[in-house]
Symmetry: D2
Subunit: 100 residues, 4 copies
């Protein structure tokens, strides 16, 4: 099952600046062979369900190892059976309508 | 790794009333040996990471099998290394402060 | 416009234990005349759009005043034009199916 | 109070393809003078609290007017008192660490 996911990892019990923890997650997602698309409120990835969620788990492990005692993560998880659709397809579908 | 998760499954491309899909998820979560705590905006579960996320995947499979061509799920995922804390502990910690 | 909302306020740059900040939000939501339904991953409220979102803003103000330098909040926001539906109706619709 | 927000509007009771509803929201956010940064799982905006949340309400109104009987929206809402930080600053802080 193919899945597209947005992951947003919030370390708790740390400084207010959390970029170094987010950078750890980027490394994990890239090491998993995913091509993370980071934006200001999370990172979008797509791939096989098992691959993606194994990487999500490793993100939690990496952020704890980096010193965060608590993590609150939000995920958006999308699957569909009616057609294949990439992350890029989603953005392009809206942009195409905007150009009309 | 123990994890506490809120899952909120939104079927897309279906009728506006989605309670029968949510009921499918409740069955899946119970069959996984989790004790789902449903509320008006999702269902809270806790347990071993692998058990919980295997159940999340089966929720997607069950909701597609029930007829939804597309699913948008939001998850909140909590882990901590500083102490053990159950879902009930979280609620009780706030209620205790309110009673003071 | 009537709206049902789940609010989950995460203080950042604080201790890992955040119950006292959540308790502040409960006070704000009650003071707004809402009847907050707290669970382990947020609090559900319903009411007029303006009333609910004014209370959300006051939650942010109260949590900053309580000492959190940064706040990350997740909201789920539901509106519908096909019928009126309370938070309790949502839960009951699923439970009714489960009892059949 | 300055706020940065991610908005992700999910129409329910519609076709599985929802790009035309998302395009409506983009128009609303632009008309509000915000500079929406769309990605595959939502749109990021920043500005004055009142301006941003008035636009969120108009998104709901516009998507209902476009024919969706039910809407489920997720928002991430960020405020901080320790420093000013734009959406672009957030991304850049992580990228800077990655380049080291």
């Amino acid at each position: 099952m193919q899945v597209s996911v947005e992951i947003c990892v919030i370390p708790m019990g740390t400084d207010a600046s959390v970029s170094r923890y987010v950078a750890e997650c980027q490394r994990v997602l890239e090491a998993a062979g995913l091509q993370p698309q980071m934006h200001a409120y999370g990172t979008n990835v797509e791939g096989d369900w098992e691959t993606v969620f194994a990487a999500v788990k490793r993100c939690h492990e990496a952020v704890h190892e980096a010193g965060a005692p608590r993590i609150f993560t939000t995920l958006k998880v999308g699957t569909r059976t009616d057609k294949q659709q990439t992350l890029q397809d989603k953005v392009e579908a809206v942009n195409k309508l905007r150009r009309q």
